[in-house]
Symmetry: C2
Subunit: 761 residues, 2 copies
Amino acid sequence: MTHSTLGRETPQVSAREKVTGRALYAGDIQLAGMLHAKVLRSPWPHARIVGADVAAARALSGVRLVLTGEDTPTRQWGVHRKEHRILASGKVRFVGEEVAVVVADDEETARDALDLIRIDYEELPALISPEQAMADGASEVHEGTRNLAKEIRIARGDVAAGFARAVAVCEATYDAPSQYPGYLEPMATVAWMGGNGRLTVWTSTQSVFLARARLAEALDMPVSDIRVVQATTGGGFGGKIVEEANSLICALAASRLHRPVRLVNNRLEDFQGARASVPERIWLKMGVDADGLIVAKDVRIVAECGAYAGLSAEVMLVSAMRSDNMHRIDNVRTHATLVYTNNPPRGAFRGFGGQQMGFALNSHLAMLAERIGLDPVELHRRNAIRSGQTSVHGWQIGSSGYVECLDQVCAAMRWSERRARPKDTGVLRQGVGMAAAMHVSGNRTLGNWDGSTVVLKLNEDGRATVLSAECDMGQGAATMLAQICAHELGIPLAHVTVSAPDTDSSPYALGSLASRVTIIAGNAMVRAAREARAKLMLAAADRLAAVVDELLLADGRIQVRGAPERSATLAEVARHHIFRHGGEGLLVQASFDAATVMMDADHFGNIAPGYSFAAQAVAVEVDTETGRVKVLDTFVSDDCGKAINPLGVHGQTSGAAVQAIGWTLYEQLQFDSGRLMNGNFADYAMPTADSVPAIRSGIVESNEPNGPYGAKGASETAIVPGAAAIANAVYDAIGVRIHSLPITPEKVLAGLKVLRETGHA
Amino acid sequence: MTHSTLGRETPQVSAREKVTGRALYAGDIQLAGMLHAKVLRSPWPHARIVGADVAAARALSGVRLVLTGEDTPTRQWGVHRKEHRILASGKVRFVGEEVAVVVADDEETARDALDLIRIDYEELPALISPEQAMADGASEVHEGTRNLAKEIRIARGDVAAGFARAVAVCEATYDAPSQYPGYLEPMATVAWMGGNGRLTVWTSTQSVFLARARLAEALDMPVSDIRVVQATTGGGFGGKIVEEANSLICALAASRLHRPVRLVNNRLEDFQGARASVPERIWLKMGVDADGLIVAKDVRIVAECGAYAGLSAEVMLVSAMRSDNMHRIDNVRTHATLVYTNNPPRGAFRGFGGQQMGFALNSHLAMLAERIGLDPVELHRRNAIRSGQTSVHGWQIGSSGYVECLDQVCAAMRWSERRARPKDTGVLRQGVGMAAAMHVSGNRTLGNWDGSTVVLKLNEDGRATVLSAECDMGQGAATMLAQICAHELGIPLAHVTVSAPDTDSSPYALGSLASRVTIIAGNAMVRAAREARAKLMLAAADRLAAVVDELLLADGRIQVRGAPERSATLAEVARHHIFRHGGEGLLVQASFDAATVMMDADHFGNIAPGYSFAAQAVAVEVDTETGRVKVLDTFVSDDCGKAINPLGVHGQTSGAAVQAIGWTLYEQLQFDSGRLMNGNFADYAMPTADSVPAIRSGIVESNEPNGPYGAKGASETAIVPGAAAIANAVYDAIGVRIHSLPITPEKVLAGLKVLRETGHA
């Protein structure tokens, strides 16, 4: 075990090819005879397609194919509801909706051909806000839906009785807007229909098997006729699970040609085609008793999915109930409504609804703490769910590092000292705020299964190849699997290769979502490696004429205990496993399916094998003249159970914290009548290095009993607390409570003006 | 089972992509940034390299890399002996030996750069025949070898006593020359060193794992750092196992660059670089008793491996003893010598030494039959080994269709009638001849293992993906695996996809050699499919609330016997196998290792799980004025145990028979002082459609007890009898016995002249 990197700071196994620029992203792929596609998008938020003339485009020299909605399979696809064709047919429902695709010898020709396509639209009334969509007599985005995509009601305990016991009750409405996933690699796909009638799709994805299933549905083909291979993926953040249109359109075009087709989004196209996060308006009412214990919680959510439901219903469900589980509360009630509009469709995003409610809940907890004169950290501490407890919705918390995260954050940020400091009175005013969060590690939602299979091959040189369909999109899945494999086999990390997910050759797995890979696939990897080790030991016993119990594996050798001269290298044993009577290549498979349940009809049940916690505190400086908020310092504490790779956990924590800062202070998708106005990185302001402080973070190892070596997920939790921590710090600095993100200078200045006018400044 | 194609004429699963021209051969692969390589070859058969100046080549615009032998890893590689570097270092040993490689932006520049390389040679005495090489005082091709690459002596029984019992003894010397494999696709490779430091090699190969092992040895890299993927392979015939240089050189070049490198042999380069078959001079003495039983056999072989031993020693061993096992004989003695020369290295070729001895043995049997006044078919029949018998070298013949093959051939060719027909006396004279052969199906030679593992995945649509490393190079391995999988699962053939061999994802297997794939991998496929079926049945029982014994699988559904309303499609059951508590994707692996033994030091032991037999008769017409021999008609009977795909068996039989006709009548590698003079298809005359009759063939199903459904190999046996059958027919036609192939018009005319001069004409 001397080589093990388990628990040590470990550069990702893909680091070298990425930093040298030699990793192959889908857009880098070139194949013989490859053609290039471009997509025509709707200029209208809502319109009937009354005619399409593609003759001129088809006639352009170099154009190989032009398809419109009428050329697509009639079978509709969709995650929550079957409501899509691959290209719009009959109607367009948002600006940017994919209307036609051109395939040509080069991208320039394809782009020129787009200009030659004439689509006749008959404009329809556009619903560009949930209020419009829910108004009496509103037109319908999808017929017969009354623009209601989903409604959820959950009630536990006795909320009225709870409020009756409360010594303080707060009620407020919060606006949590949409955020673009902002991965550095826009969606890109190369697809090719081989001579054998099978379609191969190289794409940027978080899940090859879900991508395959969706392609099969949308193209109306058997899944077995489709092969999806994950190209190097430059970030996903939930946006590359099963909702993007790029891979569908590319595959559709390729299925009609016998040459490879490449479709790479430019940044504007990616803004138009990607699923940004679900915007929610959250009304929250909570009460606490004299001890600061939450006695009642009442929630109403109006969420907007835009033109198609996608995964938004599942996201809204998370907003509606996940954060209930982090506290020891009995009385909760939620009513959540998902509304169709003619805005672009929204969907999965890192945090998956957690951050929307996290903003509301943690703002609210700060207000309640203030009302009863308690340090908000203490309020969190008193309500925090602990290891071994079961939450109000039936979640069994195997490990909770909630309190330890609070402690770590307070120490690192000198919380008490900073809070006790006299208030600034000048132009620049500093404040501190904090928030906490929980997230799932895994989630039994898809067909009552949350499993993964890992295949391990030991090669003749004693090194290992791991096959898994869990996608690494930068978060470190491959490194985690390699670390576990190397650890269990006692070989160097460099002796493990994790193959790229490929539906033809990889074992089945759901993919990288719900922070599930470390706990689910990690457990499968442990099992596979231990089985491989056991097989190696048996082969070594045979070779060394010993019994397994006598054998020791260390430093790439297996030896008879006390008789070092009776030993063999792993390479020798691996060869012996093959080359003998009844031998075979050492190939093992192992699966793990979490011992969880699906939520019942009442949304009750233990859905995940582990739950991660995080806490964050920030110090901000508010410029009372310009309204500008600057994050001076922050510390995020992440309870990932056990940090298999602390470097990776810190990377995830830092990235999530920065993404939260972006959402809280800078990023705003600007629409004008449903039309995105700032679909580029100049106008859509993501945080740059000079707009965030060095992100400090710490790890809490709560030792999850269901996790490999105690580990749980560490990819998403840390995005959840940031917004409220900043909002609370702004309030601490200037006494202005911002309920609507982003916290722009205008809102700050408006808040200060109100304070002045009401005599509070 | 209604869909099963087992035993039915089945077009190959790759037929469609091949006939539509869309199959991707290695030479068709294009990758981003791909460079092109060309190889400089030795003009001398034997010379010392005293200097190399590559400066001008390196300076040429567009040239990216120039390597000579001094730049290659110093570790030597080789199958029989470690005697190679990838590029010649110090010395060249044959004309065409690879001396340098240039990589450039395009092939033309690379070729131009070859002309700028100056290699200074100091010529050494060239040994261009075994006689020269074995002469006293001859120089040495490899130091310290005395040009002896291998010597084999085998003796069983009492040969002298046997001859003493003989009523007829024949003694003669035969010359069996070398044949170029003549696949339509010359060797081609694309190799790429990825940013992760791993080398991927797409190549035309019969074995990805043996290719990987050889690349690792020659490049001095761990096997795990190399990935070999089989591109569509346009024929192998033994020439693409582990001896060709193309893939090594391409991989070497790619390992020094960070861009993909393509190396495609043109036909001349392929003639120069390929391993043609091993030329042998065979002295044979045999005696029969009054009943026509063979009482003694004495063999001496001088085989020539050329400049490097490669697999030639193994080929010579087959010549030396395999055909002994087809007869019930007790007294045999063999002395075989493998000699180095400065001719190009020789090696594995379809038939693997069988055809060289097959020519001698069957010519000899015809002579002996004549001597004792017996129909040669009857001589074969009396000596033929039968099912259940053990041969002189310990081979256990589970199934022998030898006699049935003779019967089938005689019936189809009207053998007795044709033999009884009066001799022609005009210019054109017809004759008939026959011969018989045996071959192995599998061969336990490599590290005491002759196994294969197959992985089967059942996808959510109830269709199957098969992973196997057994390469299809046109012989039908993929079709065979797909047929078995479909048969066992009761699904249509089109519902099975057999993935291309890939060392990263395929389970371990030896590859396509020794006609082993049907019997070895076929058995593994049966096991895997039956295990998958059992798992499906368990999942169906769970889903249908039934017990497995009640269930029936038919037509893609599993139903409860007698209750058709309680049923589920395979797709539903496959999904149920995943999506349930403790579920997983249906993935099974199964291995088969033949219950055989390695030959002992005395070359004794049952090396193969099955042995195939064949017989062939031909009718020829000899033009006594021109000496031209024309094959008028032929029938080949192949005992493949059970024809899983009769269309495939007939295809293999026809191809082998034509290749034998080419070797017997037309093909001649012409050398001048070690220099190949006819390395192209215009001057190297392979048989064309108008030079062979329609090949008629039949199948004998002897039902091999070790084979899947009784099957054994059918790829090689049919090449073995052709030469002798033709030679015997020529003798029947004109009374001239040709002992030296090819049977050219010159030799026929010379034979006729001798007959006339000795008064026999």
